[in-house]
């Protein structure tokens, strides 16, 4: 797909369909090791062991509107295309984790895309679900946890349009700060 964020959103949607109320997206870029790792973990109903191989097929889907489910297989192909690995771990009743690695400077690696906009769209649409976003670059980490944001908002709904816009801008800024090396920690 055009952007890695599209793959990630696909997997997040899988988690939401599985009834998750906590979804953790982590992105780790390590320029020294030349690796990118993306992981999406949910606490949904999980996948039965006997289906674990089947779900990776593009022709397997739980959707009733069509017979094709491309999210997992396309993500796996993207990882393989970039000399990476793909892992799917799931436990019924506990949740699922999908992770993929990529060679960071691979010519076929799609850009990450607008993770802030993507995530905040989910937060907007599903204020009942909590999201954790961790973005690591060469050891520096940015972390956003909607549970903390909600606590800080103290009753103001997280899906208030002003809040969502501000949250998206904050995330974009903080992730950009990781790249420039500026320290984005809270002002004293």
């Amino acid at each position: 797909m055009r952007e890695l964020s599209l793959h990630i959103m696909d997997i997040v949607e899988n988690g939401l369909s599985a009834g998750a109320d906590l979804i953790q997206v982590s992105i780790a870029e390590d320029r020294k090791e030349n690796r990118l790792r993306i992981a999406v973990k949910d606490n949904g109903r999980g996948i039965p062991q006997d289906l674990l191989q089947r779900v990776l097929s593009p022709f397997y889907t739980t959707r009733t509107t069509r017979r094709v489910g491309l999210g997992l297989s396309l993500f796996r192909e993207a990882a393989r295309r970039c000399e990476g690995e793909f892992h799917l771990v799931s436990k019924e009743g506990e949740g699922t984790e999908v992770s993929a690695t990529f060679r960071l400077d691979h010519i076929d690696l799609a850009p990450l895309g607008d993770m802030a906009g993507s995530l905040t769209s989910f937060i907007m649409g599903r204020p009942d679900v909590d999201f954790v976003y961790v973005h690591e670059l060469d050891g520096k980490v940015f972390r956003m946890d909607t549970r903390e944001v909600k606590k800080e908002l103290d009753g103001l709904p997280i899906n208030n349009p002003k809040v969502i816009r501000h949250l998206a801008a904050s995330i974009r800024e903080s992730v950009a700060d990781l790249k420039t090396g500026a320290d984005g920690s809270a002002a004293p």
Binding site: M1, R2, L6, M9, D10, E13, S17, T65, R66, G71, D114, G117, S118, S121, F122, M124, G125, R126, K140, V141, F142, R143, M144, E148, V149, E152, L153, D154, G155, L156, N159, N160, P161, K162, V163, I164, R165, H166, L167, A168, S170, I171, S174, D177, L178, D183, G184, S185, A186, A187
Partner: protein, 123 residues
């Protein structure tokens, strides 16, 4: 470790409290932005962004924005459904930032459905 600044959130909370009533009122218009992967690939994030800008300006507690997954009409994405009280729901297709603003200003705020952009009116 870089974090979302607490100061920003506090300021936001204060400014939002001043300008909007806290009490949950009735919803008079519900806007659904379809954010399945097909929608997102076609540009639903930008449409959502434009909508949120308009919402922030309009500052109306009775307008609700929700997201939904794919509704099966992928080739007409981005789709936006507007359900105004006492009106038939309208599904808009091939939306972009400008069309979203127009639909918001004319249909959501003034009640004039923008039939040029509509895919269907649901009876």
């Amino acid at each position: 470790m870089a974090k979302l600044t607490i100061e920003d959130l506090k300021k936001l909370r204060e400014s939002a409290r001043k300008s909007t009533a806290l009490r949950e009122g009735e919803t008079t218009v519900k806007i659904t932005v379809h954010m399945g992967t097909c929608g997102i690939a076609a540009g639903a994030r930008e449409v959502m962004d434009a909508l949120l800008e308009e919402m922030a300006e309009a500052d109306r507690q009775d307008i609700r924005v929700v997201t939904s997954g794919c509704m099966g009409m992928c080739s007409s994405e981005p789709n936006v459904t507007v359900e105004a009280r006492d009106q038939d729901p309208v599904v808009y297709q091939h939306m972009d930032r400008n069309k979203m603003r127009q639909v918001f200003k004319r249909h959501v705020l003034l009640g004039e459905a923008q039939t040029d952009f509509a895919l269907a009116r649901i009876k």
